[in-house]
């Protein structure tokens, strides 16, 4: 028998060899001085390694009760119900369809959530301060109910007109729009970025319809220089006029409860599509969105303040804006403090929401607590204890 390899020696000393192999090793060692010495060294090495490892002993601490682990698992299951498993090919197909779908729909999605979002401060804020306030002409004030009826009627009309226009366009020669840059609608009390996005969304929407918007300014050139039919122009004018009326009506509706109610009825799916749509604002603007003075983390470097849809947050409230403050600590870790007004239901169940630490597999920890009608979260790639300590410094 050749000499025993190190792996087998350790396996022998660890008591992991079966009877036959153990007998073989013992027979060899009895006749081989070199292997007997190596066995002695290996035994010493094993003891040495175990001794070194025993130096790394964590402090004694009380584990959380098992019920807490169960509650966390139940809460997670409730938030993300298990989806039926699908084959990879189906997942690929769904991804492709989704990508095309999102691309097609995104032409006018921005700033949809901004349209329907209601700041808690809006009860006292003039309509002109709302980010959707785009005015084209003087419109009589209408109530929220009247607005609803009007909006529904316009929506029906617009659908019909669009359908009709599409039918007519199908019979048209292929056209392209040159210089059909519609004038950006004037914004009133709107952050510059929102106004720009509004204009882009509007332009995209118009382009999709074949350049019907601002028809008087757009220069239509057909592939064979055939001018558009007068009937089509008429339809386009109608669509454009109705869209203007709808937008103007939105701008003039007071920001009261009657207005807020239908806005809150938007689907969760629609808002979930907007979760990535946070945008930077000034702190005082963010406070206005939030309807509350911003909480801050002292002694940390504030990078930016952002506003976005509540659906972007775990337990966030649909229809209410969320504000997040992004800080950097000394080690360059990003620390995100998020605030959102709690719903009435959350306020009732605030004990369940308060002071919860949520560990993420990605290494990101989230600490959430309830305070004076608001939900606050701190998220960072630091330990749970560090996060708790940071939360205590929020003021």
């Amino acid at each position: 028998m050749s000499h025993i390899d190190d792996g087998t020696l350790h396996e022998y000393l660890d008591g992991e060899l079966n009877d036959r192999r153990r007998a073989d090793v013992e027979a060899h060692i009895a006749d081989c001085i070199a292997c007997a010495e190596r066995l002695e060294s290996a035994e010493s090495l094993i003891g040495r390694a175990s001794g070194l490892m025993s130096e790394l002993e964590p402090e004694a601490s009380q584990p959380p009760p098992w019920t807490e682990i169960e509650e966390r698992a139940a809460a997670r299951a409730a938030r993300a119900p298990r989806k039926p498993r699908v084959g990879p090919w189906l997942a690929w197909a769904a991804s492709i369809v989704l990508a095309f779908g999102v691309g097609w729909l995104s032409h006018s999605s921005w700033p949809v959530w901004g349209d329907r979002m209601q700041s808690p401060a809006s009860q006292t804020v003039q309509p002109s301060a709302l980010p959707v306030a785009v005015e084209f002409e003087e419109r009589p004030n209408v109530t929220g109910e009247a607005f609803d009826d009007r909006a529904s009627a316009i929506a029906v009309e617009e659908t019909s007109l669009r359908s009709l226009a599409d039918q007519v366009e199908d019979q048209q020669p292929v056209t392209s729009t040159v210089g059909a840059e519609p004038a950006a609608p004037p914004s009133r009390g709107v952050p510059e970025q929102i106004g720009r996005e509004l204009a882009e969304a509007d332009r995209d929407d118009l382009a999709r319809r074949g350049g019907e918007g601002e028809a008087a300014e757009a220069k239509e050139v057909s592939a064979d220089e055939t001018p558009a039919e007068p009937a089509v122009d008429h339809l386009r004018d109608d669509v454009t006029r109705e869209r203007r009326e709808l937008t103007a009506a939105k701008a003039d509706v007071p920001a009261d409860a009657e207005f807020a109610a239908p806005m809150a009825q938007v689907s969760a799916e629609a808002e979930a599509n907007e979760v990535g749509r946070f945008f930077a604002v000034q702190p005082d603007e963010a406070a206005e969105w939030l309807g509350h003075q911003l909480r801050t983390l002292p002694d940390l470097q504030l990078q930016r303040v952002e506003v976005g849809p509540g659906a972007a947050l775990e337990d966030g409230v649909l229809g209410l804006p969320a504000v997040r403050l992004i800080y950097l600590d000394a080690a360059n870790n990003e620390i995100v403090l998020t605030m959102q007004q709690a719903s009435a239901e959350q306020a009732r169940e605030k004990d369940a929401l308060d002071a919860v630490l949520i560990g993420q597999p990605s290494g990101m920890n989230v600490y959430r607590w309830y305070e004076e009608g608001y939900l606050l979260t701190l998220a960072a790639e630091v330990s749970g204890d560090s996060l708790r300590a940071l939360a205590e410094r929020v003021r």
Binding site: S61, I69, R72
Partner: protein
């Protein structure tokens, strides 16, 4: 097997495994709890091996983050400073230095060698180690032999460097 019983029997072992792996006790406890939360979701047949597999993966993810690496260095220092003083200041200082050196030596091992050693120290047998790490059973002895040899050698090297610096100063 009842998971609550597994929790009672193996939670501390899992925390120790993670603590030795990542060097941050609070984070080790968070990850151990996360592993148990996932176990409740998946209801594994062999919960102990499953928990340590998940924990090893979580620790690996943790280790990949450069920010964690930076924090880790800070923690080694903070950990040493935070430990309560023991019988005498000299003993306490010596213990802190030993912990730092062992951790530095352990960091020099490859992931696989380190995890094999940590699992062995938590009472896993060769079959279980092979299962958790995806090794053949026959290679576990070799892996452990290499891990122990490198750990001891790295520690001796670090200890020698430390004593040389002491002499230099």
């Amino acid at each position: 097997m009842d998971l609550s019983q597994v929790y009672r029997e193996h939670y501390r072992s899992l925390v120790r495994f993670l603590y030795r792996r990542i060097g941050d006790q609070a984070r080790a406890e968070d990850l151990a709890q996360e592993a148990f939360v996932r176990a409740l979701e998946h209801e594994p047949d062999k919960p102990r091996a499953w928990l340590f597999t998940v924990a090893a993966n979580l620790a690996r993810d943790e280790g990949r983050r450069s920010s964690v690496r930076r924090r880790h260095l800070t923690l080694i220092k903070a950990e040493a400073e935070a430990r309560p003083p023991e019988p005498g200041p000299e003993v306490a200082l010596e213990r802190r230095e030993t912990i730092q050196k062992v951790r530095a030596a352990l960091d020099q091992l490859s992931d696989r060698d380190r995890e094999a050693l940590l699992l062995w120290e938590e009472g896993f047998n060769y079959d279980e180690i092979a299962n958790v790490l995806g090794l053949s059973r026959g290679s576990v002895g070799t892996t452990l032999a290499r891990a122990r040899t490198r750990l001891a050698a790295a520690y001796e090297e670090i200890a020698t460097e430390g004593s040389d610096e002491d002499v230099a100063y």
